[in-house]
């Protein structure tokens, strides 16, 4: 969703909800996801993803939510944070999956970021090869979930 559309979208959601309804918002927290290697539930490697380039848009989403609460369109009833893990049998399969799911932004990445990302995934692959069968690459994000009630 484009930043300028976030507040308008929340206004429209308020209009579409019945009185007493709920808005459930799920979005990542403001921190880089971790890329991990697991084997049999043990974490063998964990590093923040260098491709974390959506902090600004997350801040805009947080601002939009704060704005509609301040305007008394919604009240936050409850919120929490959870861990969201995506397990892949290989780096290539996990990255293909994320690409298919539209997880990557359309804007071109900084060359240095792309290089650091390639280096990180090369290390992950080395570790997975050295570890042998049963190793998994895991994307570990943390997400915020909130229930908001429309105010009429």
């Amino acid at each position: 969703m484009k930043p300028e559309g976030m507040v308008h979208a929340l206004e429209e959601i308020q209009r579409l909800l019945r009185p007493g309804g709920s808005l459930i918002d799920i979005h990542p927290v403001l921190e880089a996801p971790l890329i991990k290697v697991y084997q049999g539930g043990r974490v063998l490697f964990a590093e923040p993803s260098p491709a974390y380039d959506y902090e600004e848009v997350l801040r805009q989403a947080e601002d939009a939510l704060a704005q509609i609460v301040q305007r008394r369109l919604f009240v936050i009833e409850r919120n929490g944070v959870f861990d969201f893990l995506t397990h892949g049998p290989s780096v290539a399969e996990l990255r293909d999956f994320w690409a298919q799911a539209g997880a990557y932004s359309d804007s071109p990445k900084d060359e240095a970021v792309t290089a650091r990302e390639a280096e990180l995934y090369a290390r992950v692959e080395e570790i997975m090869q050295a570890t042998g069968p049963g190793a998994e690459v895991v994307g570990h994000e943390r997400a915020r979930i909130a229930r908001l009630r429309p105010v009429r």
Binding site: H8, E12, R15, L16, P19, S22, I24, A61, L65, G80
Partner: protein, 101 residues
């Protein structure tokens, strides 16, 4: 072995902790391929799931479980267009599924 998304069910647990879907009419914005939709739709009265990306919606329609047919509908549409064509006070629960940002 395929890619596994949230096999720990942390997202589903957090969702069910915050919302009771029983008998509810739900709008899910940013449903993608229906990954989250399948996890709660069985409890809802009806789910309208939308996404602006055609590929995800096509996969969601292909993978729609038989038992959810008639209860879940997927639309390839941007939220602003969906909202413009929708009546007020239509849904009990709206889920912004990783889609506000």
């Amino acid at each position: 072995m395929a890619v596994r998304v949230d096999p720990e069910n942390n997202e589903t647990s957090a969702l069910f902790d915050l919302a009771d879907f029983s008998g509810q009419h739900v709008l899910e914005i940013g449903c993608g391929d229906g990954r989250l939709t399948w996890r709660y739709a069985g409890r809802a009265a009806h789910v309208t799931a939308i996404d602006p990306f055609a590929d995800g919606i096509a996969r969601a329609r292909e993978n729609l479980p038989r038992e959810l047919r008639g209860r879940v509908e997927f639309h390839h549409i941007a939220f602003e267009d969906f909202a413009a064509a929708s009546e007020p006070s239509t849904f009990d629960i709206t889920i912004l599924s990783w889609s506000l940002c």
